[in-house]
């Protein structure tokens, strides 16, 4: 590993000052499960300074505020998995973190690192987009809140500046009658980085009619987004296999209109349709 200076600020103001001073020389370190892998690659970036934010305790933990759930970026995947609040109000997020890496990775890797790293296969992104999450970024210049749907530019690129710290993730609680799911296809069960995944939420009226539907695919589109065309197919209808197949087909069509046909389309087109159907069936 190339040499660097190590800083471990104890508070957010201290961290912001450091990042302002160090500018482009600094690299933020959270759980390190992406950063350490990256730092060791031959010819990788050489940050002259590492700013370890894991001592800032205010960035940890899961809480409620009225109808919203707040998650600190340093919350690990294991902590999210064991959270009662997440289980009750955002079970699809629990399902997503359950499949991340291995126990060792889940004990260290954080949700903030997962979002900021912005890999195409980041497993917390589809559920958090489906949950209509917003995030807060902080730097010495101030704080801003943005919708997660406006945050990603493309894989590994976000609108965050280098000196900005992700300080909060927030989303509305799912209503009691909502059902949600996360399904993923990987190469191997443990340690599988998702190649394709789907997060889905369905809300039905007492009469069994779908009143709200949200579908987000992971690692399929060049940019994450809710697939509104497919969601529209579902609203006002009663669940059936045909309906879910139709929604799956819409997602495939949207994928192709977005990316054009390319080498992986042959595989992704039918697979994503089936995965969408399965994720909707899992919302029953």
């Amino acid at each position: 590993m190339k040499p660097f200076d190590y800083h471990s600020p104890r508070s957010l103001p201290e961290a912001c000052l450091l990042l302002a001073e160090l500018g482009a020389e600094a690299k933020i370190l959270a759980g390190g499960t992406d950063v350490l892998v990256e730092m060791r690659k031959p010819g990788s970036y050489s940050s002259k300074a590492v700013v370890d934010i894991t001592r800032i305790s205010s960035l940890k933990g899961i809480g409620e505020s009225g109808d919203a759930i707040l998650i600190g970026p340093l919350t690990t995947h294991a902590e999210i998995f064991h959270s009662r609040i997440v289980e009750q109000y955002a079970p699809l997020l629990k399902a997503a973190v359950a499949g991340i890496g291995s126990p060792q990775i889940r004990n260290r890797g954080t949700v903030g690192g997962n979002l900021m790293n912005a890999a195409a296969c980041a497993d917390t992104v589809p559920p958090l987009l489906a949950l209509n999450a917003t995030i807060k970024l902080l730097s010495s210049k101030g704080e801003r809140s943005i919708a997660l749907s406006d945050f990603f530019i493309k894989p590994y690129a976000t609108v965050a500046q280098r000196d900005e710290i992700l300080v909060e993730i927030r989303f509305p609680k799912l209503p009691a009658n909502a059902r949600s799911s996360f399904v993923k296809l990987g190469r191997r069960n443990a340690l599988s980085i998702a190649r394709l995944s789907v997060a889905a939420i369905l809300v039905k009226s007492d009469a069994g009619v779908i009143t709200d539907a949200r579908i987000v695919t992971g690692a399929a589109f060049p940019k994450w987004q809710r697939v509104l065309e497919a969601e529209k197919v579902l609203i006002g209808q009663k669940p059936s296999r045909e309906l879910f197949d139709a929604a799956g087909k819409k997602v495939s069509e949207a994928l192709i209109s977005f990316t054009g046909r390319r080498w992986s389309t042959e595989y992704k087109e039918p697979v994503i349709a089936v995965l969408v159907r399965r994720s909707l069936e899992a919302c029953q």
Partner: protein, 157 residues
């Protein structure tokens, strides 16, 4: 590059050291502390050979910078036995022929300890999940799973 002073507890012993920050916990344990029971495998978090307990949780020591363990507690495979007396998990691994070449064993033992500390009587499924981050190229896993599930008298170490 400035050195960083760390105070940490490794296998129950307090240590205070001035360290280079650009070193992983894995390199520190093996090269500086001489604790070579923790194995160096992939160094990218995939094989689990480097697994240690950090405040009681299984982690990959290849993905931790050594200054990050300041104020924390580490347990490596060397800390399992009490003198000449093997840890019950180690006895059970021997009884079940769960050690072949042995390269994965330290990591397996540590992941198993993390499991048994919270779940004294794990199911087959729970056991397989607990060691899902530990690769073994020899055993086919079944002996390891059996050894963990049939470990006697845990909880006293």
């Amino acid at each position: 590059m400035k050195n960083v002073l760390i105070k940490t507890t490794i296998n129950g012993k307090q240590v205070e050291l001035d360290v280079r920050p650009n070193m992983t916990l894995l390199d520190f344990l093996r090269d500086e502390m001489g604790l070579t029971g923790t194995k160096r495998g992939c160094e990218v978090g995939e094989c689990g050979a480097c697994t240690v307990l950090l405040n009681g949780q299984a982690v990959n020591s290849c993905l931790i910078l050594v200054p990050q363990i300041d104020g924390q507690e580490i347990l490596t495979v060397e800390g399992l036995a009490q003198g000449e007396k093997l840890h019950p998990l180690q006895e059970s691994f021997l009884d079940h022929d769960a050690v072949h070449c042995g390269f994965c064993t330290p990591g397996m033992l540590i992941s198993a300890k993390a499991l048994l500390d919270h779940t004294p009587d794990p199911s087959e499924e729970e056991t397989r999940v607990a060691i899902s981050g530990n690769l073994c190229r020899c055993s086919g896993y079944q002996q390891i799973v059996d050894a963990i599930r049939e470990t006697k008298h845990v909880g006293e170490s």
